[in-house]
């Protein structure tokens, strides 16, 4: 079956612009996660969704970052007023239900470059 898909695969934007990153999880997976991979910080957790609710937003680095999930499926990560330090690969993952034991399946990522 289809895996996790993300779009766009690459995004170049100017400092101060807003960007939206999209994630389509595996069908039927109730749990969805966003992570960020950057050279200086490694792989960092951003936010976890269970259905349309986000019980854990502890990894969002600032109020410029927000995310939503609709219909228990597609999720959008929005970064407002982008800064150069936001440049990174943004990874989305989904799992059947439980974050602690279920395998998380990762998408290919969106590479964001802020000029």
């Amino acid at each position: 079956g289809a895996g996790v898909s993300q779009s766009p695969s690459n995004k170049v934007t100017e400092k101060g612009k807003d960007v939206e990153l999209r994630c389509d999880p595996i069908s039927g997976h109730t749990a969805l996660y966003w992570y960020r991979q950057s050279l200086g910080q490694g792989l960092e957790f951003l936010i976890y969704f269970q259905g349309n609710s986000a019980p854990d937003k502890s990894g969002l680095p600032s109020d410029r970052f927000s995310a939503e999930r609709t219909g228990g499926s597609v999720s959008t990560l929005t970064i407002q007023r982008t800064q150069q330090e936001d440049s990174a690969v943004y990874l989305c993952a989904s799992s059947p239900y439980r974050p602690d034991t279920d395998t998380q399946y990762f998408g290919p990522g969106t590479r964001l470059t802020v000029l």
Binding site: Y33, L91, P99, T101
Partner: protein, 113 residues
């Protein structure tokens, strides 16, 4: 709290020789442990996972890992390296009270002829 330490940032082996990638974890509760692999410009792929069943876990591509509670370790091994194993490997921990994976800093495996 949970954390994971990958003891080597870079490991180089010759093709056909054994691979050992070291990982130590810290967790307040019984952990679940994973190894993920990331090939250049590719997504993260699960190699294997431990979730409190058998302590010796076999994964894909001939990799295996052993959960040792007394040593708080979860080292990844493979008897014979192949050129296609060259990639970045991440040790990952989570617990029943957590909603996220905590990644180690990664070990880059280089395989030479």
């Amino acid at each position: 709290a949970q954390s994971v330490t990958q003891l080597d940032s870079h490991v180089s082996v010759s093709e056909g020789t054994p691979v050992l990638l070291r990982c130590n974890y810290s967790s307040s509760y019984s952990p679940s442990l994973f190894w993920y692999v990331q090939h250049p410009n590719k997504g993260l792929q699960l190699l294997l996972k431990y979730t409190s069943a058998a302590t010796l876990v076999k994964g894909i591509n001939g990799f295996e890992a052993e959960f040792k509670k007394s040593e708080t370790s979860f080292h990844l091994t493979k008897p014979s390296a192949h050129m296609s194993d060259a990639a970045e490997y991440f040790c990952v921990v989570t617990t029943g009270t957590a909603s996220k994976l905590t990644f180690g800093t990664g070990t880059r495996l280089q395989v030479t002829l």
